[in-house]
Subunit: 110 residues, 2 copies
């Protein structure tokens, strides 16, 4: 008997909720903001966000699992690791841009 709870079932969530569940995660919007400008190393992201390595690592891993971020390791000495948005992840950039625009309006109105 089929149950309607598997990944294979039709996704009946509201599309707004689909995105809210991604960008509602703490730090995610800021990671996306930084990666929208191009690939970043782990240390660059950590410095920009002011977040602990453990938390950043967990968030990046989750974004990789959601196929929004991909990691590339360059065979250098020492090895260099860069994170960038996937094609799917880049679909989120207009939302980040809109958040920036409205955030600036909010800051002016304070």
């Amino acid at each position: 008997m089929l149950e309607n709870t598997s990944q294979a079932s039709i996704d009946e969530r509201c599309p707004v909720q689909v995105i809210a569940e991604i960008i509602g995660q703490k730090w995610t919007s800021l990671i996306l903001r930084d990666l929208a400008d191009g690939p970043r190393r782990f240390g660059e992201l950590q410095h920009s966000l002011g977040v602990s390595p453990r938390v950043l690592s967990t968030r990046l891993h989750a974004l990789e699992e959601e196929l929004l971020v991909e990691k590339e390791i360059f065979a250098e000495v020492p090895p260099r690791t860069e994170y960038s948005l996937t094609e799917k992840g880049r679909l989120l950039i207009p939302i980040i841009d809109e958040m920036r625009r409205v955030g600036n309006l909010f800051k002016k109105s304070n």
Copy 2:
């Protein structure tokens, strides 16, 4: 000596972060989504979101404090209470619209 931590100080947060702190709160995007279509009663929101009255009440109160949502009480029997977006709250609608657009793309790609 002035400390740079008061509300009166210049808001140095990134504008993306300003918005992430609002719509990153659980349920907030969905409340904004519903109110974007016009005023809603408490019970209508509760039914639409499938959230407990206590949680919804807390979230609406927070949104009122942030001047994003306003409550109007109509002197009827029984009294009718409606929630709607303020002018400031309506500035968030384009973000919700963009989330809906991208959320639909994500759902198609699954």
